[in-house]
């Protein structure tokens, strides 16, 4: 049962342009969402998060948008840089108990110089 879905396995973007990574979830109990970035042979590293009480959170070049009614969130990276090339995982939790995360399958972003 895939509660968090990332339907685009890969995305290629020119350097300087905007990268938009999408994520959908099915569990209405999820109320906290995170984006992780993963380089090969490394563990996921936290990028940005958003609580369900917000619809936007911004941190430098990274902005996450949340549409609760559509159960959809997106990560915008602008401007995209070659160092942003990595696999991006969307994750969600319901902030109860141990707060374990449910991950999407990831989107491989390639930023072309």
């Amino acid at each position: 049962d895939q509660q968090v879905k990332q339907n685009s396995p890969s995305l290629s973007v020119q350097e300087g342009r905007i990268s938009i990574l999408n994520c959908d979830y099915t569990n209405s109990m999820f109320d906290y969402f995170l984006w992780y970035k993963k380089y090969p042979a490394e563990g996921p590293t936290f990028l940005i998060s958003i609580s369900s009480i917000k619809d936007k959170n911004e941190d430098g070049r990274f902005t996450v948008f949340l549409n609760k009614s559509a159960k959809h969130l997106s990560l915008h990276i602008v401007p995209s840089q070659p160092g942003d090339s990595a696999v991006y995982f969307c994750a969600a939790t319901d902030q109860t108990g141990a707060n374990n995360l449910f991950f999407g399958t990831g989107t491989r972003l390639t930023v072309i110089p």
């Binding site: 995170l34 939790t93 990831g106």
Partner: protein
């Protein structure tokens, strides 16, 4: 920045053998986790650990798996009798009070 440390980075074992994957979480964190990622698939939750006991576990975490915090710093995942399908990258993570998980760099387990 503090980090979660995992050893070894790569473990090769024969089917049916026991393996222990080791993790040193961030020192002031209270919640500890194991996740795994089979090649080409999503990162999957295995188990969470709090106050010296399992908080939650997934259906993947069956009787062949166990976790332990033998001292104040280490957090281990034991697989008693490995199967071919246990081959995956295993990630340890720990969490402080702000909901953000910190992951280790993973142990690549190869079961032959």
């Amino acid at each position: 920045e503090p980090e979660v440390t995992q050893t070894p980075s790569h473990q090769v074992t024969q089917m049916g053998q026991e393996v222990i994957l080791r993790c040193v979480p961030i020192s002031n964190h209270l919640y500890f986790y194991w996740y795994r990622q089979i090649l080409g698939q999503k990162v999957e939750f295995l188990v969470s650990f709090y106050n010296n006991e399992i908080s939650e576990k997934s259906e993947i975490f069956d009787d062949q798996f166990s976790v332990e915090r033998p001292d104040g710093s280490n957090f281990t995942l034991k697989i008693r009798s490995t199967k071919l399908e246990d081959s995956a990258m295993y990630f340890c993570a720990s969490r402080g009070p702000n909901e953000k998980l910190f992951f280790g760099s993973g142990t690549q387990l190869s079961v032959l």
